[in-house]
């Protein structure tokens, strides 16, 4: 069985070195993957672990997908692929090579002629994979850092200033807030209307300003509200 999936690009690896393909061509293909909203000739993959795959055929498209992800990491996080079972692998590869002969052929386009060529291409592929590894681990570090920063930010209690609540809370939020200060029903509705009218004219600049400009909100009530909010935080 060959199943059609969206597979995470980062979980795929290829045994063919990237340097074998022209960067310009990969760039062009990558742009077209992004513009067309996907890769139109799916990769053939073999699953090697819970979240790892090897390219069976379509190395060029694979590197184009990698490039697309470099350009737009969110949009091109995944790529269209057939995940091929072990026993159908041979047949699938053959079908693929008949349908899409030239560029998808896995065999190197220029067979190494002499020793130097061979060594050069080996060097190339080693460099490529080392580079990939560095990129990968750097990305993971950045991710981990971002994660930690977010966690830290979360631990800093979100101190919403009471003044800010008066200035920008929606009616529903005000209703909730007033309720926590024991003001409900008609009283709350009236007060909210008064607050909204006053702040529409001009933002409140201080608690004194609120008391001065809000109908029906005297100093004692204001203090009661602030006390109640303080206790809840």
């Amino acid at each position: 069985m060959s199943e059609y999936y969206l597979v995470d690009v980062k979980s795929i690896s290829s045994k063919v070195p990237r340097s074998q393909f022209s960067e310009d061509e990969l760039e062009m293909l990558a742009r077209s993957i992004l513009d067309a909203g996907g890769l139109l000739i799916p990769l053939l993959l073999k699953q090697t672990g819970a979240e790892s795959y090897d390219v069976l055929a379509g190395d060029r498209q694979y590197y184009a997908a990698v490039k697309a992800r470099e350009i737009n990491p969110r949009q091109a996080e995944t790529v269209n692929a057939f995940v091929v079972a072990e026993k159908s692998a041979q047949a699938a590869i053959q079908q693929f090579s008949v349908l899409y002969p030239e560029p998808h052929d896995r065999s190197p386009q220029r067979p190494p002629t002499d020793g130097i060529d061979q060594r050069l291409s080996n060097l190339e592929s080693r460099l490529e994979s080392a580079l990939q590894e560095i990129k990968q681990s750097q990305k993971q570090d950045v991710q981990r850092l971002e994660q930690q920063i977010q966690t830290l930010q979360k631990q800093i209690p979100p101190k919403v200033e009471a003044l800010e609540i008066f200035n920008s809370a929606s009616s529903v939020e005000l209703l909730q807030k007033l309720k926590s200060a024991g003001i409900t029903g008609k009283n709350a509705t009236k007060l909210i209307t008064a607050i909204e009218m006053a702040r529409a004219e001009e933002k409140f600049t201080s608690f004194t300003d609120i008391v001065k400009r809000t109908n029906g909100l005297g100093l004692p009530r204001m203090l009661a509200i602030l006390d109640a909010w303080n206790h809840r935080v």
């Binding site: 059609y4 999936y5 969206l6 597979v7 995470d8 980062k10 979980s11 819970a50 979240e51 990491p73 969110r74 996080e77 995944t78 995940v83 990305k139 991710q143 971002e146 994660q147 977010q150 966690t151 930010q153 979360k154 009616s171 529903v172 209703l175 909730q176 309720k179 926590s180 409900t184 029903g185 709350a188 509705t189 909210i192 809840r232």
Partner: protein, 285 residues
């Protein structure tokens, strides 16, 4: 961090009621709690006060919910999506909300090879931030239920113990078996079934004396699941606390509460405390 999924493939048996009030019970003991809603009906999201808006344009959940968590691998991590419950409990709990768009996206996600594992992976990244994670799963045997059971360490199966719910236990059992295969493939131990939780159980004394013990015995004998000692009885306060509203002019605004916030002297509070105790004993949290 201990992750507990609340699941039964039958609806209306009290999964959401259990999930949100159990989350509150643990939070009230000082535990750092995360509630994950992965049911497209978003009942837990509603019950924790996150759906107070009246108009679609005020919907602030649509683009930041569980869907994003399971769609993206390199983006939308838990700390970016999480929010605090609103006027639900003192102290409030952290919630990953759900959204009705989950229904439309299921087909696409089914084709996404890694979607089954993303929640699991992202929860691992916050394992130092939470003591307890509770996942409210949908009443179906689909991708979302699978995601919940892959991410969890433990499973609680609320059941009203009536024949339909009991028969459904066979289904739950098979499903757990399937999920365990996937868990094995990522090196995760089999799901630990804490047990069937008798929930929404009638307080009628004849029922409790004659019928309930037999139903309990059947569940135990037929399906081999352990059964909780704690029973969550059917009590009006438990549905009332979710259905609270505030009125403002002509608007009725939902104002749901945890049972602890709504009526701290109720029998239901005692039952949820007992449940939290029993779970803590079983999982050592």
């Amino acid at each position: 961090m201990k992750t507990i999924a609340i699941y039964h493939n039958k609806g209306g048996v009290g999964k959401t009621t259990t999930a949100v009030n159990l989350a509150a019970a643990f939070r009230n003991r000082g535990k750092r709690v995360l509630l994950v809603d992965i049911d497209a009906q978003a009942n837990s999201t509603f019950a924790t006060g996150l759906i107070k808006f009246q108009f679609e344009e005020d919907d602030d959940i649509k683009d930041k919910n569980i869907l994003q968590v399971i769609s993206a691998g390199d983006f939308d991590f838990i700390p970016e999506i999480v929010r605090q419950s609103k006027e639900f409990n003192t102290p409030e709990i952290d919630v990953i909300p759900s959204h009705i768009t989950l229904i439309d996206e299921q087909q696409r996600l089914n084709r996404l090879a890694a979607s089954r594992l993303r929640l699991n992976t992202k929860l691992q990244l916050v394992e130092d931030d939470y003591d307890i994670v509770i996942i409210d799963a949908p009443p179906s045997r689909d991708l979302y239920a699978e995601i919940a059971l892959i991410a969890a360490d433990y499973l609680i199966i609320p059941s009203d113990m009536k024949p339909f719910a009991n028969q459904g236990l066979a289904n739950v059992k098979n499903f757990v078996g399937e999920v365990n295969e996937t868990r094995a493939s990522i090196g995760k131990a089999p799901l630990h079934v804490l047990g069937v939780l008798p929930s929404k159980v009638m307080t009628n004394s004849r029922y409790l004396e004659y019928v309930f013990p037999r139903q309990r015995e059947t569940a135990l004998q037929h399906y081999g699941f352990p059964i909780f000692d704690t029973v969550i009885y059917e009590r009006v306060v438990l549905s009332n606390c979710i259905n609270q509203t505030l009125t403002m002019g002509k608007l009725e605004i939902p104002d749901p509460k945890s049972i602890f916030e709504f009526d701290s002297d109720s029998d239901s509070v005692k039952e949820f405390r007992n449940l939290a105790n029993e779970i803590q004993q079983k999982i050592g949290a």
